[in-house]
């Protein structure tokens, strides 16, 4: 059954680009990836303090057992994603390209911690209070799975004096190539709706909107058809435009509000959670299952079978690529995340983390940058900037280390979506210089 949405497609009001969305794996059903022999679980997979390690080399752990606990409020618990024996605990390279402390677990069997409900039955009745929900989410180590990895329990703790009236569930997935959220909405729609209700109760809001771009029409139809049993939830279709999945853009598109410069979504009465996070919330609250696995898209133009895998956290990237047909000969770059904001990785043995939404393989010829020309002042970067900055000018200032000027031109409002670099006809590395400028401004602020 298809429900007429009765409203037109919305979008954010300023800037944005239309790159080829290349959703090659949109029709590939989620497949569980075989458990690897060894997993590498970083203790800092989230924004905030790294977790404190609770295990020692040689300990036996079960899947879902806590192995590192949150340090302070802005931090997250880490659980073992497999059953086995704790191996080396040392500094290891992760997808950022830097070495960070990680725990390795050598897999033995597949026992899960007792309290976890592994059944696939849908559990619709929410029995926990708002406080209990936040505690369970915190215990399960749930973080924002759209890429930012911000601990979810922090977002659910609304500061004194602020009021939230809308919960937005982000199913936009505006990054080209990625389809993990799309598949999750198609295959676990009711779990996401129950998760949404859980988040609504935790926040005490009456209205939630599931936001989906129009290139996922099947997901819009499916989610809309299930709404009857879930009060207060609606589905909002959105025009396809990058970077619509950015919190600020999504709030502007759906609610016509703007998060103040330097502020948070809660300042305008909105909270945004990704659909992947919402699913993890369902698992945490209804099934007592911590965040130990996630859906990851493995894709690329020359990859044999672009796929969506259900992956245990800590699985090496190379395992996913092998399962999707192996690294193609013409591969030149491997990106963790999408092509617009993802990070290029240097080593295929780095682990999948809680916020790894995709692995993208870019061909050799596309992975090199083209020759840079003079700035023509064509204004295309100004036109596409969703924040309304002047990227060409920020680049010029940053290049000349004009720190106070870049600060005055609001360089810190840049969210690094990359639209300016994407559109520049002179192939100028605009965002590289803006990042440099931002780091210099931040240095002067902390000094």
């Amino acid at each position: 059954m298809s429900i007429n949405l009765g409203n037109t497609l919305k979008t954010f009001h300023q800037g944005g680009i239309h790159p080829d969305d290349a959703k090659l794996s949109a029709d590939a059903a989620i497949k569980p990836l075989p458990t690897p022999k060894i997993v590498t679980i970083p203790i800092a997979q989230h924004i905030g303090k790294p977790a404190k390690i609770l295990v020692q080399r040689g300990d036996m752990v079960k899947a879902g057992q806590i192995i590192a606990t949150h340090e302070g409020f802005v931090s997250a618990n880490i659980h073992s994603s497999v059953c086995g024996k704790v191996g080396v605990i040392d500094e290891m390279m992760d997808s950022t390209g830097f070495k960070h402390t990680a725990i390795t677990v050598r897999v033995k069997g597949d026992d899960w911690a007792e309290e976890i409900d592994l059944s696939k039955d849908l559990n619709r009745s929410i029995n926990d209070s708002a406080k209990e929900i936040v505690e369970k989410i915190m215990a399960a180590g749930v973080v924002g799975m759209g890429g930012a990895a911000f601990p979810s329990h922090v977002k659910l703790s609304v500061p004194e004096g602020k009021q939230v009236d809308h919960l937005l569930i982000n199913g936009v997935e505006c990054e080209p190539f990625l389809t993990a959220d799309h598949r999750l909405m198609l295959e676990r729609p009711e779990e996401i709706l129950v998760g949404t209700q859980i988040l609504m109760r935790a926040l005490g809001v009456k209205k939630a909107v599931i936001c989906i771009e129009d290139n996922k029409h099947d997901a819009i139809d499916l989610m809309s058809s299930k709404l009857e049993d879930y009060e207060g939830i609606s589905v909002q279709g959105l025009q396809v435009k990058y970077p619509q999945g950015g919190e600020k853009q999504l709030i502007q598109a759906v609610l016509d509000r703007e998060v103040p410069s330097g502020g948070l979504p809660v300042d305008v009465g909105a909270i945004v959670h990704n659909v992947g996070t919402t699913y993890a919330v369902y698992q945490a609250v209804q099934k007592n299952k911590p965040l130990v696995e996630r859906v990851v898209t493995v894709t690329g133009r020359s990859l044999e079978t672009p796929s969506n895998f259900l992956v245990r956290i800590g699985t090496p990237v190379v395992n996913l690529i092998a399962e999707a047909g192996g690294l193609p000969e013409q591969a030149g770059k491997v990106v963790s995340g999408g092509p617009m904001m993802g990070k290029a990785i240097a080593d295929l043995n780095v682990p999948i983390a809680k916020a790894t939404s995709g692995i993208l393989i870019i061909d050799e010829e596309e992975s090199k940058r083209e020759q840079e020309y003079n700035c023509l002042h064509c204004g295309k970067c100004v036109e596409v900037c969703p924040i309304g900055l002047e990227p060409y000018y920020l680049m010029l200032l940053a290049k000349n280390h004009k720190t106070s000027e870049t600060s005055q031109e609001h360089i810190l409002d840049c969210m690094e979506c990359g639209s300016c670099s994407w559109v520049c006809p002179s192939n100028r590395p605009i965002l590289d210089y803006i990042r440099l400028g931002k780091s210099e401004v931040k240095k002067t602020q902390t000094a």
Partner: protein, 344 residues
């Protein structure tokens, strides 16, 4: 699995638009073809000859200066010298002596562009710098336009005045506008382009086809052309309403002279126009204002070249003050959850 090749590691974004400088420049060239075809039909082979020579002279000037004077890598193939050459040709009569065209090309590329540091750094539109230099230096040659004679007409065709020239001379000799207009070509023929004029400026229709192509290809946005045309229409219309015997009507002003060519191809030059949409509108408004001012009260019958050059000088100022709306400032950012919203 072994990794046989080293992976590239670079910051995001990892994809890029297909529309690069080269492609943009060649699309502009394509957009100029309809106007050239009309000119070819009107003036014969001399239109093509002048255009080709101007392109050759501009490209050659760029090549020689960049290679032997600046000792830099020649970036000729970005196509910008081709556009400067073609635009210069579009702004001169088809019977212009070749040596004058050569002078114009050297001034356009050498002084107008390269003396400021090359493409991207020039404050003034290079083709217009060349054109205005020629207009002041060779006023007779630059204002004796051949009358359209068809494909087979030679360089020595009959010359005649442009509609704007007719108007200026008529007003000077004390005639009223309606009397002069009876001798001027009709609007339809001006729209299609059969009046006397510079090589590429006559046919509004052909220029509009070029505009639609550039808009569709996302080479430019509508802001500058629409602002220029609307502004010329508004300011000339204002005077026409005041006294229709002294001032021609706004449709005449929009269709005559170089308004279309200027609005579509000259004022939209990336380098010498503002970066924000708001700035582009102000820029276009100013061009229209100065064009009408020069046409109605200045010494020259046509003023758009000067108007664009004047507004070019204002671009840094416009860029500084005409910023676009910045997310997170203003009314919508000052949102507070009202009682009413909470009830719903």
């Amino acid at each position: 699995m072994s990794q046989s090749t080293l992976l590239t590691v670079s910051p995001s974004p990892h994809v890029h638009t297909q529309l690069t400088v080269k492609q943009i420049m060649w699309r502009v060239v394509i957009a100029m073809v309809p106007a050239l075809l009309i000119s070819l039909y009107n003036f014969g082979i001399s239109a093509l000859l002048i255009t080709m020579m101007a392109i050759l002279f501009c490209a050659l000037t760029e090549y020689l200066i960049v290679k032997y004077l600046l000792h830099q890598e020649v970036t000729l193939f970005d196509g910008s010298a081709v556009i400067t050459g073609a635009l210069l040709a579009f702004n001169v009569p088809t019977n212009l002596p070749i040596y004058i065209l050569l002078v114009g090309s050297v001034v356009a590329v050498g002084i107008g562009k390269l003396s400021f540091g090359g493409l991207g750094n020039n404050p003034f539109n290079p083709a217009l710098v060349g054109r205005v230099f020629l207009l002041i230096s060779f006023p007779v040659e630059m204002t004796s336009w051949p009358v359209p004679g068809g494909l087979l007409s030679g360089i020595d065709a009959v010359t005649g005045a442009t509609p704007l020239g007719l108007l200026k001379d008529g007003l000077r000799s004390g005639l009223a506008v309606p009397e002069i207009m009876s001798e001027a070509p009709g609007y339809l023929s001006m729209f299609i382009g059969t009046q006397a004029g510079s090589l590429g400026e006559m046919s509004s229709l052909a220029l509009l086809i070029g505009l639609i192509f550039m808009l569709q290809q996302k080479v430019i946005t509508w802001h500058v052309p629409v602002a220029v045309i609307a502004s010329v229409f508004a300011f000339s219309g204002l005077f026409w309403l005041i006294d229709p015997t002294q001032y021609a009507d706004p449709i005449f002003h929009v269709l005559s002279g170089g308004v279309m060519l200027g609005a579509i191809f000259m004022a939209t030059d990336y380098v010498t126009s503002p970066v924000s949409h708001r700035g582009m509108l102000i820029f276009g408004l100013g061009i229209g204002f100065f064009t009408v001012l020069i046409r109605l009260f200045g010494g020259y019958p046509e003023g758009i070249s000067f108007a664009i050059l004047i507004m070019n000088a204002f671009v840094p100022l416009i860029n500084k003050y005409a910023k676009q709306h910045r997310y997170g400032t203003g009314r919508k950012a000052a949102f507070e959850v009202s009682e009413k919203e909470l009830v719903h």
